[in-house]
Symmetry: C5
C-alpha cells in the first residue's frame, strides 16, 4: 500500500562532478568522454576592412589564418576527436594541463595565465534547466582566440552579428574579442536569474496560502537550484578579475576598462543571486510559520469545541446514571423535580456561556478578524 | 469558495533588475527606455562673486559656460532623448561605457575613474516607498559636474539654496560640489531608515500581542524592504571610499577631509540599517515564540479541562450502564444503595480535586499570574 | 475587553539617531539642540611642580593658559551656547566638521586626525540605563586637551584625583592626558557589562523554570540592550587603534605603550560583550526548548488520561444502550448475566492495564523521574 | 524494560586525537605507538633511461642510491621500528620536530620548509570509512622523496605505473615526483565525496517520505562524517598552496604550473565538500518540516473527527438523561414526541453538516489533493 | 509548593572578570588581591654542565644568579606580596603596565614586546573544572625567564625533569626555555579537550534516547564550558604567533622552528575546540528533533485512539437515548429489533475497521517498525 506521505520524487539529479580520468593519471592526459560530440570548426578571421567567416574541415587551415588577419577566432563545438585536440595543443603551443581541463568538463570557472596564452573556463547554463551546464574553454593568444564548447548552441550570436556588422570590435585586438565573449557569458546569467524572481514571487503567494507539501518541495527545489548556480557563478567573478589584473601583456589597457565593466556585471550577477538566495531562505521561514499558524488555528478550534462540550457532556452523563430514586431519597432527586430538565439545561447553558466569556477574554475568539480601531497606528502606515 | 487562510497578497513587486539591452549587445550602446521622460537641462554656473541659474534649451549652450565660470553644474532630469545623450558624450568626452550605465538605470552604486572624469552612480530612494529607487549618475570633470536623473524631484534642494546663498561652497571647486551632492545623497537615507524605527517599534508591540497572521506578513515585509535597501546602500559606501582614495587629481586635498566625513555618514547609514535588520530578525523570533507561547497556553487549558472531566464522565457513564440489578446481586448494587448517588458524586469530586492538586504541583495552573515574591531578585533589577 | 495576551509594553525607546541638521545642510554648520545645557568650563593646567584647577567664566581666559603650563585640560560640560562653540573653533583652530560632530551627538565613536589636532568621539553609557549614552568629544592639540560633554557627571573623577595627587601623569604631556581620559572611558564599560552577567545568570534560572512570557520579554530585552551597547563599543576599539597608529606626531612613543594597553582593554570589553551576546542567544534557545519540553509533558499527560479512559467510556456507553433484551435474546444478553457487571468491570480493568503497560514500554511514563542507575556513566562525570 | 525510544546507538567513534607523547615531553622525541606496524622499505630509483624498483632490507642501502640516480623515492610502510626512524633522521638530516610529527600520526595536514628539505603531511581516507584516516608524511630533499605511511596500501599505484611506463615523470626531478604523489592524494578525495552524493540523494527521498527516526540518525551521521572529512581536507589546500609558494629552491618553476593545477583540484574538493555540507543542512530542515507537516495533518484529522462528534455525542447524552417525564411535563417532553428520535437525528445531521462546511471554508479539508487548476501558473514552470 | 518544572540549578558561576583596580586608576598600579597567596621563589639556573635548583628566600639572591649561568628561570608561585612584586619590577626593569597585568589576573592571553623583555600571558585551565583558570605570566629577558603563577601546581613538571636530565634544553638559551614552557602550556589543553569527546559521545546517546530535561541542561552546560574555554584558547594562538614573529632579537632563529611547531599545536587545539563546539550545536539540534519526534509519536497514538473511539462512543450514546418507543413507532425502532444489538456492534466494528484502514494508508500505523525490505538500498550502505 503506497504511503501517500511520500511526495513525488525529485527528478534524478545528474552527477555534478565526473572525472574523465582516474586519480593518479598522468597530468595532461587527454581522455575523451565516449559521449562527447564530433567537433565542428568555425572560424571568424577579420581586420577592420574585411571578415572571413566559414566552417573549416581541419584545424591546420584555420591556424594558417593566424597572422594573415589581425584577429582570428576559432570556435570548436564538440570535444569528441582526440586527434584534433592533440593537434590544437601542438599548433598553438597550448599547455597540456590546460588541454586536460578542456576535456574534463567539470572544472570550476577560472583564469590561468601560461607563458604564451591565457586560459579561461566559464560555464554556460541551460536557460531551461539552470542546474545543467556546458563548459566553455577559451584560449587567448597573440592574434587569436580559440574556444571549445561541448556542443553547438551558445550565447555568442550577438557577438557574431557585431563582428559581421563591423564597428569598434573589428578595430580592436584579440583581447577585446575575448572580452566580448566573456561579457556575453556573464550577461547570459541575467535572464536566467530573472526567471527565478517570478518563481519566488509565485512561491511567496503559495507560502502565505494553504499549506500543501508541494510548496515545501518547490521552495526546496528553488533553493537547490540557486545553490547549484552559485557554484558556477562565484568563480566567474574571480576569473574576470584575474583577467583584469593579468600581467602577461596580452591585455591592452584600453580593453581593461571594458573588463572592469564586465567585472561590474559579474558582481551584479552575484548580488542578484545572493538576493534570491536570501529570499529563498525567507520563503522557507514564511512557509514554516504559515504552517505553524494554521496549526495554531486548528488547535484553537479543537480547544474551544472540546472545552465547551466536555463539561456539558459530563452533566448529561451525570443525569444518565441509573441510580434508583426509589431505593433512596438521596438518589438523584433532581430527576423527579418538576423543573429538573430545564434546570439541567440551564446549568449547561451557564457553563457554556462562562467558557465562551473566558475564551473571549483570552483573545482566542475572533483572532482573525481585522481590528479597525488600531490599524491607523499600525506598522504599515508607510505602505501604499 | 475563498480560502480564508490565504493572506492578502503583497502588492506585485516591480522588477528590480531590468536590462535595457540584450546580453551580447555592443558595450557603450545607448538604448533609450521607451518610458523614459524627456530631459530638462538646469544649469548652475558660479564663481564666488556671481551665480547663473536657469533652465537651458540645449546642452551646447550649457557646455559653453564651462570655463567661463570656475564651476558649472549641469543637471539633466529625464533620460528620454538619445540625441542629447550622444551630444553629452561628445561634448564632455564621456566614456561610452559610463554613458551606457547612465541609461541602464539598474546599476549598483559605484565610482569609476576614467581618463578625464570620474563617474559616480548612487540611488535615490522614494521616501514613501523605499523599495523603489531612482538612479542618479554624476560625472565630475575639470570645472564641471554633470548629473543625470530619471525624473524631476531630488534631494539636492538644500545644495541649491547653499549655492544661491553663497558661502564656502561658492569659493571651492567642482570636486567640492560633487562632494556636497554626494553628501546630500548619503544623508537622505537617514530619514528613510528612521521611519523603519517606528514601524519596528509598532511591530514589536504587535508581536508580543495577539497572534494575527497580518503581523507575520508585516514583519516579513519590513525585512524584505530592508533587504532591498541594503542592496542599494552597501555599495554607496564603497563608492564614497573610492572617491576619497581617488588618484585622478580631480579631488583636492581640502575636499578629501569633507569626503572622509561623508564616508563616516555612509558607515553610519549602514550601521543603522544593519541594526534594523537585526531587530527585524529578533522580531520574527519574538512573533514565533509568542505564537508558540499561546499554543502552549491553549494546550494547557484543553488538558486541564479534558483531563479532569474524562474520568468523571467515565464514572457517570459507568452508572449509566443498564445491567439488570434484578438479574443478579452483583449487577451494580451501588445503584440501589441508599447513599449511592452521593457516593458517586463524592468519588467524582475526589478525582477532580486530586487532578487539580496534581496540575498545581506541575505548575500548570496560574502560570500567567505575576508572582510578586520572586520579582525583587528578577533579572530586571536594572530596568527603570 | 483587554487582551491578556498582550504583554506589558517595553518602555518607549528613545530615538537612537537624531540629526540636528537636515540632510544637505552645509557641512560644518553648528546647530544647537534646543534642549542642550548651558556650558560650564573647568580647567586643569599643570606642570610637574604645580597645578591650577578652577571653573572659568569664559574660554579666552582658559585658552590663555595654554603655553603657560605644559599641559592644559579644558573640560566643557553642556553644548547649549553657540557663541562659545564658535569661539572654541576659532581660538584652537578646530576644523568645522569636527565641531559639527561635537554638537551632533549621535556620531559613531571615531578618531580623526586633522592638521593640527586629533579629534576623538567616545560614548559614555549611563550605568543605570546602558541603552542611553552621552557623547564625549575630545580634541588633542599641542599642549592642550579640550573635552566636550553633553552634561555634567562623567567617569573622569579618578583622573582628576591623579592630577591633583601628582605622579607620572603630571610629568608627561597632553598625549598622556588624552590616553588617561580615553582609558577611563574604555574601563567604564567593564562594570556595566559585569551587571549583565548577573542578569543573564538570573534569566538562566528562569529559563529553566516555569515558562512565563515575562521571561521571554526579559531575555529579549537583554539581547536588545546588548545589541545597543555593541553599536557603541565596537567603534571605540577602532578609535583607540587609530590613535595608537596615529602619524600626526602628537603622540609620543612612550605614550604609545600605554595606548597599546588601552587597546588591549578595548579588546577585552568587546570580548566580554560578545560572550554575553552568545549567552543571550543560548538563553533564548534554552527558554524555547524549555517551553517545548513542558508542552511535551502536557501532551503526554493528556494522552495517557484520554487514551486510557476513551475505551473505558466506550464500554460503559455500550452497556448504557437501551436495546430491549425482551425483544430478542441477542439484545445485550450480558445485561442479564449473573456476573455481567463484574465482567464489564474486568474488561475495563484489563484494557486500562494493557494501555498502561504499552505506555510504560514506550517510556512515556516516569520520564521525569531521576534514574540513579545510569547516572554514574552520565555525561557529567567531570562536573563537581 | 527497554526503552524503545532509544535509537540504535552509533558505533563507538574512534578517538580522533591521540597523542603519543605526554604534554611537556622534549620536542623531537620519537615515541613508537605499540600498535604500529613493522616497516617495509620499497625503493624506486630512476633516471630517464632506467628504473630500479625493489624492496630493501635496510635504509642505508636505499640511501646509498641517492646521487646515483637523479631521483630516488623511498617509501616506508609501517612506523613500528624506532631504530629505523632514528637512522632515517640521521642519514637524510631530517629535523627532529618533523620526525616527531611522522610518528605522532594525528597532525593536521601541513607543509613545513626546513633548511634542506620540505616536510609535508596529508591524510589518506579509508574509502569504505571516510572518518578513519591514515597519515602520509613526505620529505622532499635534493634528489630524493621519502614517504612514511602507517600501513601498506595507498593511492600511489597509478604513480608507480607511470614511473615504470616512463614518460614525462621520468625526465623530471624529485619535486615533480612529490607533486605527482600529492596530486594522487588530493584526487583520492573525489571518489569518496562522490559516494556522499548518492547517500544524500537517498536520504532526500527518505526525508520527503515517512518520518522514521532512523532517517534523522542517518542524516546526522552523514553530517558528522562530512564534518570529520572537512577537518582533514581544508588544511590540505593550505599545504598545497604553501608548496606552490615555497622559497627553498627545491621546487622548479616548471613544476609550479603543475602544483597550481593541484591547488585547483584541492579547491574543487573543498567546493564539493561544502556543497555536500550545505545539502546536509537542507536535508535536516527538510526532514524536520516533513515531520511538522505530518503532525499538522494528524492534528487536522483529530480536530475534524473530534469537533464533529463532540456536539453529536453531547446531544445523544442529553437524551440519555433519566429525567422522569412522569414527574413533570417539563422533563424532556421530546422523548415522548412522535417525531422525537428523527428530530434528534436531524439536529445531529445539521450540526455535523454545518461543521463540515466550516472546515471546508477554512481549507482544512482536501488540503492534500492536487489542484490542477492553479498548477499552470505554479512556480515550477521551469521544471521539466 | 515547589515547582517541579524548575530544573536543578547550575552551580553559581564564578565571576569571569574581576578587576583589581577601579576604572581610572593610574596605569601600572600594583593592587594586591587580598585573597592572593604568599609567594614562593623557585630557581633553576643552568648551563650545559651543571644545574642549580632550589627555593630561594628572596628575589635579590635569585637575580644575582643571572649572568652567572647562561639561563636562569625564576618561578614565583603566589602574588600576595606587594614588596616582592615591586622589587621584581625594579631588579629586572619590567614595565609597570606588564606588572599591573601580572596581578590583574583576568587578562586575555597575549604577547607584548617591551624594550628589554617580552611579556607573555597564558591561562592554565583546571583539568577538573575547565571553566576556572589560573593566569601564568612569563617575562623573557636576556639570560632569564621569570614566571608568575597564582598558586603552586602547574604543567611544567616535565620541563623541570628535562632540565634536570639534561639534553638539548640545557644547551640552548632562555628563549628555548620560554618556548618549552609555552609548549607545555599549549599542550595541556589537549587532555582537557579530549575529555569533552567522551562527554559529547555520552550526550549523543542520551539525545537519541528518552527526552529528559537533564539532557538539555547537560548539553547546554557542555556548550557553555566550551564557550568559556574558547575565550581562553583563541588568544593563545595569537600570542604564540606574536612570539614567532617577534623582532626584539630575544628569539634565536633556531628557536623559531620550535615556536612554529608550537603554533601548529595551538592551531590544532583550536581546531579540536571548534570541532567540539560544532558537535555541541548538532547535539542540541538532535535533542530537539528527538523531542519533536516523540511528540509526534504521542500525537499519533492519541489520534488513533481518539479518532477510532469517538464515533463508536457516539453510536453507543445514540442508542442510550431514552426516546420512548411506545410513544411513536419512529422512536428508535432499532432497539426492539431482533438483531438490533448485533447490528449496532457490527456498525461499530465497520467504522473502526474503516478508520484503521484509513490510518494505515496514511502511513500513521507501524511507522516505527523497522522495514527490512528497503534497508539494503538505504543511505547507509557505506557504514560498517
Amino acid at each position: 500500500m503506497r504511503n501517500k506521505w511520500k511526495l513525488p520524487q525529485l527528478p534524478r539529479r545528474r552527477k555534478k562532478v565526473r572525472r574523465a580520468s582516474a586519480p593518479g593519471t598522468a597530468p595532461g592526459t587527454i581522455t575523451i568522454d565516449p559521449e562527447a560530440q564530433q567537433p565542428r570548426i568555425i572560424v571568424h578571421a577579420y581586420s577592420n576592412e574585411r571578415i572571413e567567416n566559414h566552417e573549416m574541415p581541419d584545424l591546420d587551415a584555420a591556424h594558417a589564418l593566424v597572422g594573415q588577419y589581425p584577429v582570428v577566432w576559432i570556435n570548436i563545438d564538440g570535444l569528441g576527436d582526440e586527434v584534433l585536440l592533440h593537434r590544437a595543443r601542438d599548433l598553438f603551443g597550448l599547455h597540456p594541463l590546460a588541454m586536460e581541463d578542456v576535456v574534463n568538463t567539470f572544472q570550476r570557472s577560472k583564469m590561468e595565465p601560461y607563458r604564451n596564452h591565457i586560459f579561461l573556463v566559464v560555464h554556460l547554463l541551460e536557460p531551461t534547466d539552470p542546474t545543467s551546464s556546458e563548459q566553455v574553454s577559451l584560449f587567448l593568444g597573440p592574434g587569436y582566440v580559440l574556444t571549445f564548447q561541448e556542443k553547438p548552441g551558445d550565447c555568442f550570436e550577438t557577438v557574431r552579428q557585431r563582428l559581421r556588422r563591423g564597428g569598434r570590435i573589428r578595430t580592436m585586438g584579440a583581447d577585446y574579442l575575448a572580452y566580448a565573449l566573456l561579457d556575453a557569458l556573464v550577461d547570459h546569467y541575467f535572464p536566467i536569474l530573472e526567471r527565478f524572481e517570478d518563481r519566488l514571487d509565485a512561491l511567496e503567494d503559495k507560502a502565505f496560502g494553504a499549506q500543501r507539501p508541494e510548496t515545501l518541495r518547490q521552495i526546496q527545489r528553488v533553493k537547490q537550484e540557486l545553490l547549484a548556480i552559485r557554484r558556477q557563478v562565484w568563480p566567474v567573478r574571480e576569473a574576470v578579475s584575474g583577467l583584469l589584473r593579468d600581467e602577461t601583456g596580452l591585455i591592452a589597457d584600453e580593453t581593461r576598462i571594458f573588463l572592469r565593466d564586465c567585472e561590474d556585471h559579474a558582481v551584479r550577477v552575484i548580488d542578484l543571486l545572493e538576493h534570491h538566495r536570501e529570499r529563498g531562505s525567507q520563503l522557507m521561514d514564511l512557509y514554516l510559520s504559515s504552517v505553524s499558524n494554521q496549526m495554531n488555528e486548528i488547535m484553537k478550534t479543537l480547544t474551544i469545541m472540546a472545552t465547551i462540550f466536555i463539561p456539558l457532556s459530563f452533566i448529561a452523563g451525570l443525569y444518565g446514571m441509573n441510580f434508583d430514586p426509589k431505593a433512596s431519597p438521596w438518589n438523584m432527586p433532581e430527576l423527579a423535580w418538576t423543573w429538573g430538565y430545564p434546570f439541567a439545561l440551564g446549568v449547561m447553558a451557564t457553563v457554556a456561556a462562562g467558557l465562551l466569556v473566558f475564551f473571549r477574554r483570552k483573545g482566542w475568539l475572533g483572532g482573525r478578524r481585522s481590528r479597525p480601531a488600531d490599524s491607523p497606528d499600525s506598522g504599515e502606515s508607510l505602505d501604499p
